[in-house]
Symmetry: C2
Subunit: 112 residues, 2 copies
DNA sequence: GCCTTAGTACGATAACCGCCGTACTACGAT
DNA sequence: ATCGTAGTACGGCGGTTATCGTACTAAGGC
């Protein structure tokens, strides 16, 4: 039997499904906030974003996976596979449309 | 012995002690977000603010106390006693100085 | 085919959090 | 002084979360 060729698409919430509490909770963790700010430094274009392993984190790989997933499921980041790497980038436009000014304010605050 | 006339002053973090993660965490709970938006509707002047009991919440009194305390310790609200009531109000100015645009963005997002 | 690199799924553990009820204190009114 | 109202402190319960290690899958290079 075919080993069901694992899903290469990742589930993301639709823009209108993004909930404020969930976003705030996702960003309230130091590790995840760090991920968000790191991704903020990278571009958001189609080819932009950073691989999980590019972002240096003081936790194990499996914990990092967990945090990236929380951010993705909250609608903060978008993830897609590119070869063996998984590229992540902020969903700036979606968040700006839904919660104007929020992400910018958080990133600016985190930078200080 | 005098029953040590209970402390009527409540501990608040200094403006520079307010941490972003803590604020985000405080606001990431539906009940607390509701409190914040309710207080946002009231003024912030010296005599303004609302008593805990003014904000209708779908939880018990002791749980409400807990949520107010989380908000206060995060630096989101200021609380002071007035008679038997405890008045709460947002620390708009302090938050604006420390994290410009953040509180407004959250309150505006919560309103929608 | 085999190895390396990147990331994941799973299970376990320990901490945290939200919630409650009960018993209590503080203040003001009667 | 007694009572009612407003809020608190404490302890407990149950669910969620952050963390890890281990074992695994996927893609690409040799």
């Amino acid at each position: 039997m075919p080993t069901t060729t694992a899903v290469r698409e990742l589930p993301h919430p639709a823009p209108e499904e993004i909930r404020l509490e969930t976003v705030l909770h996702a960003l309230s963790d130091p590790i995840r906030l760090r991920i968000a700010t790191a991704l903020g430094a990278h571009g958001e274009g189609d080819g932009a974003g950073a691989a999980c392993s590019q972002v240096e984190l003081p936790v194990s790989a499996s914990t990092a996976t967990h945090h990236f997933r929380v951010l993705r499921e909250a609608g903060v980041i978008k993830q897609c596979y590119r070869g063996t790497a998984k590229i992540s980038c902020l969903r700036r436009a979606d968040l700006e449309a839904r919660f104007p000014g929020l992400l910018d304010a958080v990133l600016r605050a985190a930078a200080s």
